[in-house]
Symmetry: C2
Subunit: 336 residues, 2 copies
């Protein structure tokens, strides 16, 4: 399968990618072992892409923006993969990228690969599958990987935590801006794009000023001397019209400048290492909680113990110690 | 020991409290078992106090404010306990409440009880001990428990998570306000107090407007209809001078109104239940991580595995699964 990913034959490679990602998304134990073997095998060929996170509320024009950007990048010699993190897709049964007609031209292009969001139930699971799919795309030689999210329950944080640069799309009206500020999403942004700026030039100008002030207040990203523009990236905001294709060159120039600065001041590699370590611990914590909840003794005691805590008849810390000792006892570790 | 807490003799009760809290702070296993027994015994006599979190940067006048407020409340028939969460105390060896001369009058008063921050190494540990000390104070009949923090590494979040109402003290100058907004602390506040307002009336007025605008944007606390002031608490800001004792009556009126509203709309009890459940899970997660890190097989593999992840030769999710399976294997649970 790893060989198919490196194939020069586009159709073979595409089938290899689909097969690999399906394997990664499988929950069967034997598949999981194969998936781990595959990931380890391809790892040396990963990490070379620019990982771009893009989010924004429904209606902001994410699809239009990503399609226009993707075609622009392909024109300039890049190969573009588009993935998604949508924790709601498991509930709705749909997916923000399920409908490929959303990006009709891009999805048909030989130098683009579009994959809908996995639907594995919770954000942690969805994010894990997307991270792994990203590695597959990189092994297949895609040098720009775009991860899209619609912003359901912390998915912005998950996407910002798996990409090199996080871009927030905004509409040119204040209500929408306030929403992002309220939710703390603005603070994650390396770059804010006011899309559909042509619809209301006056509102867009005001939004530009508001967001710019907010970014100066909140967003501090990485290394370098904040007073030295040659080494330090200050989060910024720009206007654009994806529908008209107006501003894509300026957008990509900003992304390139971001990469140059952050590579130069060391933040690019630091962030990748930090993300890898955080990812490992996030999965460990999730796994421990699962082992805990699945333990027979804990499973039996958890509901009545929680009820006692909620009713105020058992101190929370005592309840925690009691459940932990059941777990440690059952697992044969009496010292824990 | 539980009997001493209920004693009518002030000196006996005070010794009982000190002994109980020292027991709770002990790390010895047999002490821990006694502590759990004590907590469970006193639990029915806890929960009746108003739990007030207070934070602010050094120099904002926390000690002066708490002393003035404490004496004001005692005058009005209350009994006041003051605890602290200072995760840096274990490093510095000191404690923000170690020096009792900071609150000279209050600390000598028979109706006040002041206890410095425990120094148990990390925020989770410090917060746990303070939560438990709070229960001891309640069992001893203190009806206002103030938990102070200086705002080191998320300690504000910990204190907001263990109190009914969270108050942020601010200086009357914008630089300081921006600091709290930047750190996201402002969003936790149910009430912001601009202390030392008499020092610079002009700056205090400007700060009032700035903070008020920020609170309308960010702070949304609890239940009720946001458009109905009779049921909904909108986070607010007020000026005060603790040194002159000016504004303490207005402060306490706001606290009382907060309690009435939140009790009426159900948020008070909901928040307590949510805090108890969150506390239990926080301790479970910490305990699991500790059991994990102490497991012989995991301990042996953790450092080299982490190194491989950081160097990019092992996928993070594969590393997590590998370590988790060592843990599950050693604990005899092969299905986990």
């Amino acid at each position: 399968m790893a060989t198919a990913l490196a194939s020069q034959d586009g159709a073979v490679q595409r089938r290899g990618m689909a097969k690999a990602i399906t394997l990664l998304e499988s929950t069967r134990d034997d598949h999981r072992a194969q998936a781990d073997a595959l990931l380890t095998e391809i790892l040396p060929r990963t990490g070379q892409s620019l990982r771009l996170g893009i989010s924004g509320v429904p209606g902001v024009g994410k699809s239009t923006f990503i399609e226009a950007l993707g075609l622009f990048l392909i024109q300039h010699g890049h190969r573009v993969a588009v993935l998604a993190v949508d924790p709601s897709s498991s509930v709705s049964g749909g997916s923000i990228l399920g409908d490929k007609t959303r990006m009709e031209q891009l999805s048909m292009h030989s130098q683009a690969y579009i994959r809908p969001s996995p639907s594995s139930g919770n954000l942690g699971g969805v994010a894990e599958k997307t991270r792994e799919a990203m590695l597959v795309c990189e092994a297949a030689g895609y040098d720009v990987v775009i991860v899209e999210t619609v912003g359901v329950g912390q998915s912005e944080t998950a996407v910002a935590g798996m990409t090199d640069m996080y871009v927030l799309l905004q509409l040119p009206n204040a209500g929408d801006d306030l929403q992002a500020i309220k939710k703390g999403v603005m603070e994650l942004a390396d770059l804010v794009v006011i899309n559909k700026a042509d619809l209301d030039a006056h509102a867009a100008t005001r939004a530009l000023a508001d967001i710019s002030a907010n970014l100066r207040l909140h967003a501090h990203h990485g290394a370098g001397d904040p007073h030295d523009q040659a080494t330090y990236w200050q989060a910024q905001v720009m206007q654009l019209s994806a529908l008209k294709g107006d501003g894509l060159d300026r957008f990509w120039a900003a992304v390139t400048r971001f990469k140059t600065l952050q590579t130069g001041n060391g933040h690019w590699a630091d962030k990748r290492r930090h993300q890898a370590s955080a990812w490992m611990w996030e999965r460990i914590q999730a796994g421990l909680k699962q082992q805990f909840a699945n333990h027979p003794a804990v499973r039996e005691a958890l509901a009545p113990t929680t009820e006692q805590v909620l009713q105020g008849s058992l101190p929370a810390s005592t309840a925690a110690r009691r459940l932990l000792s059941l777990f440690a006892h059952f697992s044969g570790d009496k010292n824990a």
